[in-house]
Amino acid sequence: MTKARRPLSPHLQVYRWQITMILSTFHRGTGVMLSLGLLILVYWLLAIAGGLDHYEQARAFLGSDWFKLPLVGWTFCFFFHLCNGIRHLAWDTGRGLEIHQYHASGWAVIVVTLIATMGYGILVIF
């Protein structure tokens, strides 16, 4: 059976990169990363329940130097998903649906995410 020659939608690559599509992709990406974070959260809880020895093993792993990078990553993902999630909830109420508002709220999400991630980092360090 030959396929019907229906018009195809333009492939993603023909589009100029825009903030709207980047943030949309990031929302899914950070969501997946936070699902991985959920695994670590439950692992940590299980380690606490396992008693001192188990907990110290987990702490040696989760508190190691190399693990600081994923922790910073999860902090970024958390704040991004939180801010952009609030943006989505606002859209659900019918607000902010003009193109200039999409762009403005998108940039606001980026700025707030970066400030919150850095602020949280400073709070944890000091």
Binding site: S35, L39, V42, L45, I48, L62, D92, V124
Partner: protein, 128 residues
């Protein structure tokens, strides 16, 4: 209102009862996770060096135990809803899609079970 045949509905090629339940559940868990998520990560920031006594003392406190159980359930539910959409969008082999969805559902229920067990164990244990 139905646009599909009973066979398609049975094969879950089209929605059996509409995606409205998923939509609402995703929004409600999202709203709940705004304060819960902030509470969780700012609690982490205040846990003194993640010392065992500090962590168990914090987990054992009734309000923290209850909120932690709430957090584990709500994050797991929200995560399951999100991953479901992603699996459905990007997994094009029907059998693999089905298997992934089943695996994801079991995994999330498992995470809830392990999470609640762990929190309860600490909450009900005698402090050192």
């Amino acid at each position: 209102m139905s646009f599909g045949t009973a066979l398609n509905r049975a094969l879950e090629l089209i929605s059996g009862k509409g995606g409205v339940g998923h939509w609402w559940a995703q929004r409600l868990t999202a709203i709940a996770l705004i304060p819960l998520g902030l509470w969780l990560i700012f609690s982490f920031a205040r846990l003194d060096n993640f010392d065992y006594l500090a962590v168990t003392g914090w987990t054992r406190s009734p309000i923290n135990s209850i909120l932690l159980i709430f957090v584990v359930i709500t994050i797991s539910y929200h995560s399951q809803l999100g991953l479901k959409v992603i699996i459905e969008d990007y997994m094009h082999i029907a059998s693999l899609k089905k298997a992934s969805l089943v695996f994801s559902n079991f995994l999330h229920v498992g995470l809830i079970a392990v999470g609640i067990y762990s929190i309860a164990k600490v909450a009900f244990s005698v402090p050192l």
